[in-house]
Amino acid sequence: MKKKLTTLFLVAVILSLLTGLVACNKPAEDDMTIRLSTTTSVNDSGLMDYLMPHFKADTGYEVEISSAGTGAAINAARFGNADIILVHSKAAEDVFVDEGFALKLEDRSAARLPFMYNFFVLVGPSDDPADAENADSVKDAFAAIAAGEHKFISRGDASGTHNKEVTLWPAALEIPEKTKSESAEFPSWYTSAGQGMGACLTMANNDNAYILTDKATFLSQKNDSDGDKLPNLKILYEEDDSLKNTYSILAVDPDAPFKDAITGDPLAEGKITINTKGAKAFVDWMLSDKAKGLIAEYGEAEYGEALFYNL
């Protein structure tokens, strides 16, 4: 009996070694891997999955794309876990540049490289009780929603979409201030969901609520292979200048003021390895005419309209 037990344990040890930690502690990553940190919404749109096979075929680089909320995606670079970031939150990007984390590549005019844009869209119930569709501007539409106390679903997760939404409300509501405070009390018609775009859209559809969304996620749910997933919602306001959503690439500076994650002390130079050569190849390719052509085509086949526009 004891023998059986010992055998069992031995088998377990061998199995776990085989499957598990053997591959651990491999030598420094070869230079053909680029670590790209991006936001969930960029990843969810499917654009990168569509572009990256082309990039790999052209340059040989493998891009490992990790995705998180805007804050976490940018922090990945601050923690030395990314060679490059692709985000869409200008205020947060400017802070990143000011702190000295972004690298101005040779041949480029700035460290922050805006390269494409699309528009957020205001969607809401088909009968549009706030008459947002006929508002003079998107801010007027938001004011009408607030005035009529119509249900609104907010991402509430400090994402690029959420950061945009809070700027569109009438100042008197103090939505941005309430968003920052931990113990905020929002108006009863305003739901701060703390969820991803897809989940929030479903919520808005069920509640007949208004919601600010990126067009890509909305269209993909509208045109799902199993039919329209958001039958109660339609686009009410789009292509307003204040709804412009600009995407930028920022390469991470190997000499950035990295701080020790535990003590907060400045780290010795060279402790963080950044694949700058790979980052440069990525930037050059993403800003090339070929990539521009691919980006302009993305979405045409599936939804009959482009989801992103080149800058």
Binding site: K4, L8, G20, A23, F79, N81, G196, A199, Q221, D224
Partner: protein
């Protein structure tokens, strides 16, 4: 739901390379983390149940508290420790399956140890009395207790495995859900939920359940063999 079931089956039989990759990563992560947790946690739990020492109550309470470690907090903690700027940064383990395995081990080992301790402490009293009667050394008693809990061990292992497979909060943070690298079943389900592909997400959930069922059957066979 019916659609999701149909989709689950068509996915299984389609031999989809993307899905196969995700399943393999999931198995690699769950099998190794649950086995390592069993190897570390089982002896610890049995030892704690049998040993008599001052402060045993406190240690037991700590262990039982650790059984409820919040996965997201563990994920963030490990992310910070293993980040480039963290103390273990030079290992470059952030966004790797290895770190996902480590996260699972941190989460599951207390559960394995706690469950083992709870089981063995039930039988410890009579066990120790008998051992005293025949004057067995503590090492022998320990081995006997380990042997005595071998059926329980299978159940504990299954629990650990299922938990490892179903966990999403920690692995999302330390793994980053990277395509063809750290994407596992749960993070794929979350991704599809976020993009509104609910049926695909539910279908993947059913496949995940099926995987747990298969491991259950294998464990059942081993349990039979042990009898």
């Amino acid at each position: 739901m019916g659609k999701a079931i149909a989709k689950a089956f068509s996915l299984i039989f389609s031999g989809d390379a993307y899905l196969n990759g995700v399943i393999l990563t999931t198995l690699r992560m769950s099998l190794s983390s649950s086995l390592i947790s069993l190897i570390i946690g089982m002896p610890l739990g049995v030892l704690l149940a049998l040993a008599r020492f001052r402060g045993k109550g406190a240690v037991t309470t700590i262990l039982r508290t650790l059984m409820g470690l919040p996965p997201v907090a563990v994920g963030i903690g490990l992310y910070i420790l293993f980040s480039g700027t963290g103390p273990f940064g030079s290992l470059r383990l952030v966004y790797s399956v290895e770190l996902m395995i480590i996260a699972q081990i941190v989460l599951i080992t207390p559960i394995v140890a706690g469950m083992a301790e709870m089981y063995v402490s039930q039988i410890a009293e009579q066990f120790l009395d008998t051992a005293k009667g025949v004057r067995l050394k503590f090492g022998k008693v320990f081995l006997l207790a380990m042997n005595e809990s071998r059926f329980q061990m299978i159940a504990i292992y299954l629990f650990a495995f299922a938990r490892s497979m179903a966990e999403v909060g920690a692995v999302q943070i330390v793994g980053g859900n990277i395509l063809n690298k750290t994407r596992v079943m749960t993070t794929t389900i979350a991704l599809n939920y976020n993009t509104g592909k609910f049926e695909y997400a539910v279908a993947l959930g059913l496949i995940l359940l099926l995987m747990v069922l298969i491991i259950n059957c294998i464990a059942g066979l081993i349990q039979e063999k042990l009898k």
